[in-house]
Symmetry: C2
Subunit: 215 residues, 2 copies
């Protein structure tokens, strides 16, 4: 699984071969083929493995209240501090996502990540309503869809244009502060656990935006 | 350009050949190669053509006030009512986006779309602040990044899991209503110009979510 991760980061999905994965491991391609008939089969197992890691890591986010847990959850997923080469990985993941319409098995695995995120957000928002930190008229399901969409948007936009600026993060916090937090609730939504200036993107890279837009 | 669009929708990006594009047109592959050396060259010209169409269509959205123009702008981009086969097209576009980190020319073209969206939103929000329909403490740049991220998120999530439910749209409207609209401003943000129940997705398709999440 580690070799698959490294090979995906280095080669992307489309160009990836079983040989690339074997080269990153101490296995031969014959040994890989013994366990997995095809590249797709290996990648489905890899997505299962990622899902287990992901749900383990984000299944139980700490925080004094639901608002802090929600912000910490989104922060953790977007910061990807646990990943080596997050850009390479997100690029490969976007390629796999683009295969989903053609491939029910990929679609099913990817939908599990989405369902995990929406279920977690829905449950944290419902907890917040019950404990009085989140407004009663907030719809947990709508908030969950919104957060899942934002996460997908940040990852896609980062992959396409590189650095995405801190605006999305700041506006997400404003959304939490103004739309979710119950009036008078004793919660603060001032900062992320990460460095505020470090932005949506784990690594700031030059973008084509200025040049492209001005041309 | 029409043939390129249809061929992309039918075959996706990775599998697309000059022959596929020729088959959709009245040209031979030799004639295509006369104008474009490679598939990439043809697709760069196609992205330029799309950009011209896109900026023409969304460069001047009608509305009585800035809030209405902002909602109409986002609505128009997400509804894609002008596209044949929006799902096929978004899938191909996601594949091209996943190529951006490897290909500066694609990245530059795609960044122009992003810059157009953020520039438009920034300018509409600034107009709203000036006319008094949008709160003075709203940051136009942050709002623009947020809207661009949401649009990318809706498109990516649709491609990956199919139907995405109406929650994102409803929450976007709540964001506009609660975060952007100036207190006492005479604007309404109750509905989209599209059918409210028709959801984020132009076509409702079954998803793997229920089955995947419960397994």
């Amino acid at each position: 699984m580690g070799a698959t991760y490294r090979a995906l980061c280095d080669h992307g999905y489309a160009a990836l071969t079983m040989q690339d994965i074997a080269d990153e491991s101490d296995k031969s391609t014959a040994a890989l083929h013994y366990h997995y008939d095809t590249k797709e089969g290996l990648l489905l197992a890899f997505l299962e493995h990622l899902y287990e890691r992901f749900t383990e890591k984000y299944g139980d986010v700490e925080g004094d209240d639901a608002v802090e847990r929600l912000v910490g959850f989104v922060d953790g997923i977007l910061c990807q501090s646990n990943l080596d080469d997050p850009e390479g990985f997100q690029t490969a993941l976007l390629e796999i996502r683009a295969q989903a319409p053609y491939d029910a098995a990929y679609r099913e695995r990817l939908a599990k990540f989405d369902a995990f995120v929406t279920d977690r957000v829905e449950s944290v928002v419902a907890d917040g309503i019950a404990e009085g930190t989140i407004r009663e008229d907030v719809d947990p399901g709508d908030s969950a869809a919104f957060v899942a969409t934002l996460i997908d948007g940040v990852n896609t936009r980062r992959t396409t244009i590189g650095d995405t600026g801190g605006g999305t993060r700041r506006t997400f916090l404003a959304y939490v502060r103004e739309h979710l937090v119950a009036p008078g609730a004793d919660v603060t939504v001032d900062d992320w656990s990460g460095d505020d200036e470090s932005d949506d993107s784990p690594e700031t890279t030059p973008t084509e935006r200025d040049g492209g837009a001005g041309a």
